[in-house]
Amino acid sequence: MSLSVDPWIWIGALFSLAIFSFLYKDNPFYRVAEHVFVGAANGYAVTFYWHNVLVPALFNPLFRQGQLLFIIPFVIGILYFTRFIPKIGWLLRIPIGIYIGYYVGASIPAYIQAFIIKQVQGTILTPQNFASWSAGSWGILWSVILFAGVLCTLSYFYFSKEHKGVLGATSRIGTIFIMIGFGAAFGYTVMARVSLLIGRLQFLLGDWLGIIR
């Protein structure tokens, strides 16, 4: 039992216990920890947005080096504050429009390549894909099961026709694949979460209380 002497270890440990206390019930310690977290987290965000974004990308070029071109982002940015002025509140839609337009436009080609074309490439039945399992002739069976699973899952998300007859059968098979996939992912995630709990307890029992080595 060798208690730690570093004040910060004590602060970290007490905050951890305060959050864990939420498991018992919502209590003042938890709420203090919750609000300290919100305050500190936003303080940290403000620090980095200021030092790493606003100062180097806007204030230095505009005010120090006098590059007047930066008036444009400055003015559009200020439009965000029109939200507090009801009469000209609609001006808020200008920065939001620019922001959404750009991101939504950029997502189209990225989504098509990464989530449609590359996925089709991985599902097609070819000798190359059979070999990629590096499981010899079993690879053919795995590729066929993958192929059938993808088609059946796709049929589950087909909305234009009632799920009866053939479509009813394929969509039910599709749900089987979906549910097996969810179960497997759940199993892996349980291991990950329990590892994090063990990691936190190693900090509390080890670094703080010194019960375990």
């Binding site: 977290f37 991101y103 997502s107 080609p109 234009s160 759940f186």
Partner: protein, 361 residues
Amino acid sequence: MTLILLAGLFALAPPTGVRAYDTPDDGGGAIIIEWQISQDDQILDGYEIYRSDNGIDFEKVGFIGKGRTTIEDETNDGVKYLYKVAAISDTIRAYSEPSAEVMSYPQWINRNKINIFVAFFIFGGIILYFIYHARKGKELFIRKIAGLQAIDDAVGRATEMGKPILYVPGIGYIDYIATIASLNILGEVAKKCAEYETKLINPHIDPIVYTVAREVVKESYTKVGRPDAFDPDSVYFITDLQFAYAAAVDGIMVREKPATNFLVGWFRAESLILAETGASAGAIQIAGTDQVSQLPFFVTACDYTLIGEELYAASAYINRDPLLLGAIKGQDWGKLIIGAILLAASVIGIITKFPILNLFR
């Protein structure tokens, strides 16, 4: 004799067949150099690349490990260059013959990306075709999604019990499609809250989504003719950090005890915290996300879960808006095409030797 022998011993075989050409499909400023490896490749340290823009003095511009046969050199457009490749082992070098003259320049179309834009135009065309017909008032059939019926029942339950409705829009940014679909559903739920005068609680993590949601809810209240009932503080920003947000929303679930929780949008690891605390507080929970990693938790802990694309279909179903329904029909056609391509490409892939996979880089 020994000198020649020694020279023979120490002289390395230079790389051969050096070829240089402008890198295709790029913004210029790059030239690709190719060569056959030297016979002494095994004992080499690697290959040095030399460049000259006047044919006389060459300067080293690159280096690459042994066994490699190509490298890309950064150049200025519009300048004529000559290249030599030297096999190097410690301090001994063997220079190749210089390549032919070459110049780099930018291209306007990247041919590798054409397949993406072909897919986009076909699919975009189908979507617009169906939206055009939807505007014409053509009846478009969409099958019933179980989760959507639950949205009406859930709002009804909260009204009967006189308890608030908690609408969590997820932690995604405004440009995430799941967030936009969630705002659509929020608009509908807000309309029902306005009609039945049920208290709505809508906590936010992203400042932009927060500002848009405020407008959506206010607009819904005015659409139902109850602009006065809109409480500006029912839609509010908490923090921009994932777990501070989850802890705060948990606090709301335990303190305010909403009868119905909507967990709709883009979620990450905090989804289980929200779904579990909501379940233990005894609320009816309707979840919806396209984040496949979080679906197992929603499916287990919630009464209804809109899986992936069903979330998008939900916003179309609720609004019963022909434009949205048109898009859903277009997406169904998209799936038919993907299924057909998979079947056709597999037949070609198995029967013929054609490298079908290269079409889908």
